[in-house]
C-alpha cells in the first residue's frame, strides 16, 4: 500500500507546483509522401498525418483524465520537409506548410514541427528553396514550426546558411509584424539538432527514426524549486542530490505516460526528454531555481555555475527513471517563457552575453529573446554563428530563437500570450559584424570531430 504522505506529495506537486507532462509528440515519417507532382505530395502529407495522428489528442486527454496528470500539449513532428518537397517539381514550397497546418488543425494538436532543412555542410536546391520560403510559410500558417540546422560538430558551420538565416528571421518578423513578429517564435536555428526532440519549435522527425514514434517531454521547474526550499544554506552535494531525486520522480511519471500513450496509440515508444521546461506562470521558473541556490537575481555572477549543476543533476536523476532518454534533456532557459527570466532581463541583470555563457552549460541555447526591431540581419547571423560555435566545439545542441521586435526598442515589451509569454526587448551590441558574415563559406569542424 502506498503511504498517504507520498500520495499527497504527488497531488501537491500537480496542484501547487505546476507538475505536468509538457508534451506528447508523435513523430511521423513523411518520406513515403514524396511525389513528382507537388500537389499530390501535399495531399499525401495531409492524409498520412491525419491518419496516423487521428487519435493522438483524444488519447492524451484520456490519459490525463485517468491519471490525473495534466498533459499540456499534444503535438506532431514530421520528416524535414525539404526532403519531401525536394522530390517534387513544385516551384513554391509554401503549399507543403499549408498542408501541415491543415493536418494539424484536423488532428486538434497545438503545433506541428518539421518545416525544416538540415544544411550543416551544404544546401541542396530544395533546402535553399525551403529556407527562402520560411517567412511566407510561417506568416500564412498558424501551427507550423520551422527549424534549420546550420552546423554540427562533425561538419562545421555552414556560414552561407547562417547568413541566409539572419535575413530569413528579419523577413519573418516583418511579415508577422501585426503580431509583434510572432512568426519568429516558431523558427529555430540549430547546431547539432537532435532527431527525436519532442519540444517545439525545434521538433522534427529525423530520417534515422522509425515510421512513427511517441516522444514525451516532461516538465517541473516548480517541483525542483520547491524541493530546494527545504535545503536552504546546505552544501552543493545536497543541492545536487535533491535535484536528482526530484528529477527522478518527474521522469518516472513521464515514462509511465509515454508507455501508456505508446500502447494506446499502437506506436513505438521513442524517448522521454527529461527537460525542465518553464512557463510564464509564477512558480514554474528555471530562473527562480537558480536564485533559490543563492543568487540575488538570475544573470549575476555565479549563474552559469548554478545552471551547470542544475542541468547535470536533472540528467543524472532522470536517466535511471526512463528506459530511453533523448531529445534535448536538460534545463531550458527561454526568456519570454520564464517568469523569473523575464524579471531578470527587465531589471537589466540578465543580458544577452550572460545568456550566451549560460548556453554553454544548459540543454539548448538563446531561446525566445526579443531584440530591437532594427537589429541588422548580419548581427542576427553573427549571434547565430556564436551560438553554433558553442554547440560545435562542445559537442552539444545549441539553438537560436530570436525575436526581432518590429518597431520596438530596448525597454519595450512584446506580448505573445499563452505558453510563449512576453519578452522585454534586450540590447544587442551595435558594432557591425557585416564583413565577418559577408565572407560566407564554411567554418571547418573542430579537431575533435576526427574521432574515427
Amino acid at each position: 500500500m502506498l503511504n498517504q504522505k507520498d500520495i499527497l506529495s504527488t497531488i501537491e506537486m500537480i496542484d501547487q507546483q505546476h507538475l505536468d507532462i509538457r508534451t506528447i509528440t508523435m513523430g511521423i515519417s513523411l518520406l513515403s509522401c514524396c511525389d513528382p507532382d507537388g500537389k499530390k505530395a501535399c495531399d499525401k502529407v495531409y492524409d498520412k498525418i491525419t491518419r496516423y495522428a487521428e487519435k493522438l489528442v483524444k488519447t492524451g486527454e484520456d490519459i490525463e483524465r485517468e491519471f490525473g496528470i495534466p498533459i499540456v500539449n499534444k503535438r506532431i513532428s514530421v520528416t524535414p520537409m525539404a526532403l519531401v518537397a525536394g522530390a517534387s517539381d513544385a516551384k513554391d514550397y509554401v503549399p507543403f506548410a499549408l498542408a501541415m497546418d491543415r493536418a494539424a488543425k484536423t488532428c486538434g494538436v497545438n503545433f506541428i514541427g518539421g518545416y525544416s532543412a538540415l544544411v550543416q555542410k551544404g544546401m541542396t536546391l530544395a533546402d535553399e528553396k525551403l529556407i527562402r520560403s520560411i517567412p511566407e510559410a510561417l506568416a500564412s500558417t498558424d501551427l507550423v514550426c520551422s527549424s534549420v540546422n546550420v552546423g554540427s560538430t562533425k561538419a562545421g558551420i555552414n556560414m552561407d546558411a547562417v547568413a541566409l538565416m539572419g535575413r530569413v528571421i528579419k523577413e519573418t518578423a516583418r511579415l508577422t509584424e501585426a503580431q509583434d513578429g510572432l512568426g519568429c517564435a516558431k523558427l529555430v536555428v540549430f547546431c547539432n539538432a537532435v532527431e527525436d526532440n519532442p519540444f517545439m519549435a525545434g521538433a522534427f522527425h529525423g530520417v534515422g527514426e522509425a515510421e512513427k514514434v511517441i516522444n514525451v517531454g516532461v516538465s517541473g521547474p516548480g517541483v525542483v524549486h520547491h524541493a530546494l526550499q527545504s535545503v536552504k544554506g546546505q552544501p552543493f552535494e545536497v543541492v545536487a542530490e535533491t535535484v536528482k531525486k526530484t528529477a527522478f520522480r518527474i521522469t518516472r511519471m513521464g515514462q509511465l505516460v509515454a508507455q501508456e500513450a505508446s500502447r494506446r496509440l499502437d506506436t513505438p515508444f521513442g524517448i522521454v526528454d527529461l527537460s525542465l521546461a518553464p512557463t510564464p506562470a509564477v512558480g514554474d521558473s528555471v530562473a527562480r531555481i537558480l536564485e533559490e541556490m543563492g543568487l540575488e537575481v538570475c544573470g549575476t555572477h555565479g549563474t552559469t555555475a548554478a545552471l551547470a549543476l542544475l542541468n547535470d543533476a536533472v540528467k543524472k536523476g532522470g536517466v535511471m527513471a526512463s528506459s530511453s532518454v533523448g531529445g534535448l534533456s536538460g534545463a531550458f532557459i527561454p526568456v519570454s517563457e520564464d517568469e523569473g527570466m523575464i524579471a531578470a532581463a527587465r531589471s537589466g541583470v540578465l543580458t544577452l552575453d550572460k545568456l550566451e555563457a549560460m548556453t554553454c552549460v544548459c540543454s539548448v541555447g538563446l531561446d525566445m529573446i526579443a531584440v530591437p526591431g532594427d537589429t541588422s540581419a548580419e548581427t542576427i547571423s553573427a549571434i547565430i554563428a556564436d551560438e553554433a560555435a558553442i554547440g560545435m566545439v562542445n559537442c552539444k545542441t545549441t539553438a537560436v530563437r530570436l525575436l526581432p521586435a518590429p518597431n520596438k526598442t530596448v525597454g519595450d515589451t512584446i506580448e505573445m500570450g499563452g505558453l510563449l509569454g512576453s519578452a522585454p526587448v534586450m540590447p544587442v551590441h551595435n558594432e557591425s559584424a557585416a564583413a565577418f558574415i559577408g565572407r560566407g563559406g564554411r567554418i571547418p569542424a573542430p579537431m575533435h570531430s576526427l574521432k574515427n
Partner: protein, 89 residues
C-alpha cells in the same frame, strides 16, 4: 485495476458517506481508507478497485468532481500507477 481517491477540504458531516455511496453505485470496491486532519483540513485517501466499475475511470472522475463541487471539497480519482511510478522503484 486499482485507483486512488483523495478527498481534501473543510471537514463536515457526511463526506465519507457520500463518497462511499457514489463509489458503491458504480460498483467500485473500497480496499483501504485512511483519514486524518492535516493542517486543519480533512484529508482522506482511499485505495479502490475499479476493475468491475460500471463507469470508466474518466467518468468516475467527473462524477466525483461534481460531488466535490456540491460539498465544497476537492475530490479526485487517479490510477494507482502514477503514484507507484513516482514513489516506488
Amino acid at each position: 485495476m486499482n485507483a486512488i481517491v483523495t478527498v481534501v477540504g473543510r471537514d463536515r458531516v457526511g463526506i465519507i458517506a457520500s463518497v462511499c455511496a457514489l463509489l458503491a453505485e458504480n460498483n467500485v470496491n473500497i480496499l483501504d481508507i485512511s483519514q486524518t486532519i492535516l493542517q486543519g483540513s480533512f484529508t482522506m485517501v482511499m485505495a479502490v478497485d475499479v476493475g468491475a466499475s460500471k463507469a470508466p475511470v474518466g467518468d468516475l472522475r467527473d462524477q466525483l468532481e461534481e460531488l466535490g463541487k456540491k460539498m465544497e471539497i476537492s475530490i479526485r480519482i487517479q490510477r494507482e500507477e502514477i503514484f507507484d511510478a513516482m514513489h516506488r522503484i
